[in-house]
């Protein structure tokens, strides 16, 4: 006990002298955080800022003038039209695929998921090429359609839509599948056992459980649909005012040295990207528990 008395006055505030064994020193943390800021500023923020800076270089009047250009307007309308077709197509597909894969156990499920993800690993240019080979005017199907119905797919709006559907194919399905797998089937089984039919079960039970994930998927799908360049570029034929979407019009302006027009139109797409990011972050923050865990982005 004499020891205890000896040390009794020794109650210094130790806490400040030590750091937790599971973190780094303040200096290391400061350096790493600063490095992150510098890297992101250099690689991500700078390009974004430059879009707006270049667009406004000649003043606001020039910026607005871009949007009275007939080609630019046509491009904006076509982009909206393409997204309005492609997103619902993938929405229906995504929901059907997620229902089939998540609510039943059958052989080859994992393989089916890999196949659905396939378009993510195909170069956009290759994605465009596959349709040219399959549906171009010198192919069997494309020639048949052109001769008998006078329908052109390649170098026309249908081709642009097809390319967009291809590159955005997995977006909604891959948000829904993991979430619906996590949720299991007990709620659906309860609903069926209470006398609901399949459609009622989907509408009243499943859909409310996945609505935020669905919105999340639609958001990402839409962003990509409006912004796709490579696949659309190969398939569109770039007929001004007809098959040119916004990203393609940006390229056309840029290659004609109409830099301000190119960046002005690009700024609209960049704005769309920012809005997408804001809504996406908000969904992740507000409804993290109702999105598939560990699945983000792409």
């Amino acid at each position: 006990m004499s020891d205890a008395i000896l040390h009794a006055g020794n109650t210094i505030d130790h806490e400040r002298d030590f750091r937790s064994p599971v973190t780094e020193s303040l200096a290391v943390r400061a350096v790493l955080i600063s490095l992150t800021f510098v890297l992101l500023a250099l690689f991500l923020v700078l390009p974004l800022v430059s879009v707006f800076a270049e667009a406004l270089r000649m003043g606001f009047g020039q910026y607005l003038a871009t949007f009275s250009n007939a080609d630019a307007r046509a491009a904006i309308w076509l982009t909206l039209l393409v997204a309005a077709i492609a997103v619902p197509c993938n929405l229906v597909f995504g929901v059907a695929a997620a229902w089939a894969i998540a609510k039943y156990r059958f052989r080859g499920r994992a393989f089916l998921i890999s196949l659905i993800d396939l378009p993510f690993s195909v170069s956009p240019v290759v994605a465009g090429l596959v349709y040219i080979l399959l549906l171009g005017s010198n192919s069997v199907i494309g020639g048949f359609l052109l001769e008998n119905f006078n329908v052109r797919i390649i170098f026309a709006v249908p081709g642009v839509v097809l390319a967009t559907i291809f590159v955005t194919f997995p977006f909604i399905a891959r948000e829904l599948i993991p979430l619906m797998q996590e949720q299991g089937t007990s709620e659906e089984e309860a609903s069926i056992s209470l006398g609901a039919n399949g459609w009622q079960t989907f509408w009243y039970v499943t859909l409310p459980n996945v609505k935020w994930a669905l919105l999340y998927g639609v958001l990402l799908c839409n962003a990509r649909a409006m912004g796709e360049f490579g696949a659309v570029s190969v398939l569109s034929g770039k007929l001004r005012g007809e098959t040119v979407t916004m990203p393609l019009q940006v390229e056309l302006f840029y290659n004609e040295y109409a830099a301000v027009a190119a960046f002005s139109l690009a700024s609209v797409l960049a704005g769309l990207a920012l809005v997408t990011l804001v809504i996406k972050s908000w969904l992740e923050w507000r409804y993290a528990d109702q999105l598939a865990s560990g699945v983000r982005g792409h």
Partner: protein, 279 residues
């Protein structure tokens, strides 16, 4: 041994409709068109195929596409792990914004990224003008291509590593510390090996994306034959020449590589699961 059964019985209705529609749409939009590439490639005889895939221009583009993609994906691993670490482990003002900004390359259309990067790194651009007086050109050289590929690949490693790091139990780090390991030792010896599968997955995704990337690269590349021409651009040139078989041959090579990368990712994941389980 039980009788072969395609699916477990279930009382939930709708399997035939949804499964049937899924397969139909999948085949229509994805599988049949992709198989068409290989079909078209077979229209070439072997000599024709080899002459394409050994041509000087093709080989130069192949080297450039794969080389730049590899270097970009490696750089993405380094900064991706750093960014994921900072986002998960530290709290600082603006963390949520930084987290959101990481996804910018996913959200920003590639063509927009392409012209923006070109504007910055061109000899008269914000960054390019800093280097131009020293005789260093960034845009219209392989360095510019590398920068564009870093840009589009950046989120992959971050987003692969982040959830694994979030789930990492601090008990493991504390165990290492109580056994006498320094902080650096704990990070290198215990944490990084656990993150390795996620890092490899992120690397493979970033690499696959970089090899196929078109929009953000073509503006900054300058597209000088045999110097800054990437594989997807070569496909576009073949198409403009109406050389469909030639385009298909290049595409077949790229597709095959994509499939191999996909296979590698799946192997990494199943290996991880078997080895580490869910301890």
């Amino acid at each position: 041994m039980a009788q072969f059964r395609f699916r477990e019985p279930s009382i939930i209705p709708g399997f035939r409709v949804t499964f049937g529609f899924t397969l139909f749409w999948l085949f229509l939009i994805v599988i049949i068109p992709i198989l068409g590439i290989y079909y078209r490639t077979f229209e070439l005889d072997w000599a024709g195929f080899t002459s394409i895939v050994t041509g000087q221009r093709f080989l130069a583009a192949l080297r450039l596409s794969f080389g730049a993609s590899l270097l970009a994906a490696m750089f993405n691993v380094v900064i991706g792990v750093l960014i994921a670490w900072v986002l998960v482990r530290y709290t600082f003002p603006g963390r949520r914004i930084v987290d959101a900004i990481v996804d910018l390359p996913f959200a920003l259309p590639t063509a927009v990224a392409g012209i923006a990067l070109t504007a910055i790194y061109a000899p008269n651009g914000w960054v390019g003008s800093l280097f131009a007086p020293h005789g260093i050109r960034i845009a219209y050289t392989p360095i510019g291509i590398w920068i564009a590929l870093v840009f589009i690949g950046l989120p992959f490693v971050v987003r692969s590593v982040q959830p694994v790091l979030e789930d990492f139990s601090t008990e493991i780090e504390e165990a290492s510390a109580t056994l006498g390991a320094s902080r650096l030792r704990t990070i290198v010896g215990v944490m990084l090996p656990t993150l390795l599968p996620a890092i490899l997955t992120g690397f493979a995704l970033a690499f696959a994306r970089a090899v196929g990337e078109y929009g953000s690269v073509i503006f900054i590349a300058g597209n000088i034959p045999r110097q800054t021409e990437i594989l997807p651009l070569l496909i576009v040139f073949r198409l403009e020449e109406f050389n469909y078989a030639g385009a298909a041959a290049i595409a077949a090579v790229m597709l095959t590589v994509s499939f191999l990368i996909l296979l590698a990712i799946n192997l990494i994941q199943s290996w991880t699961y078997r080895r580490f389980g869910n301890v």
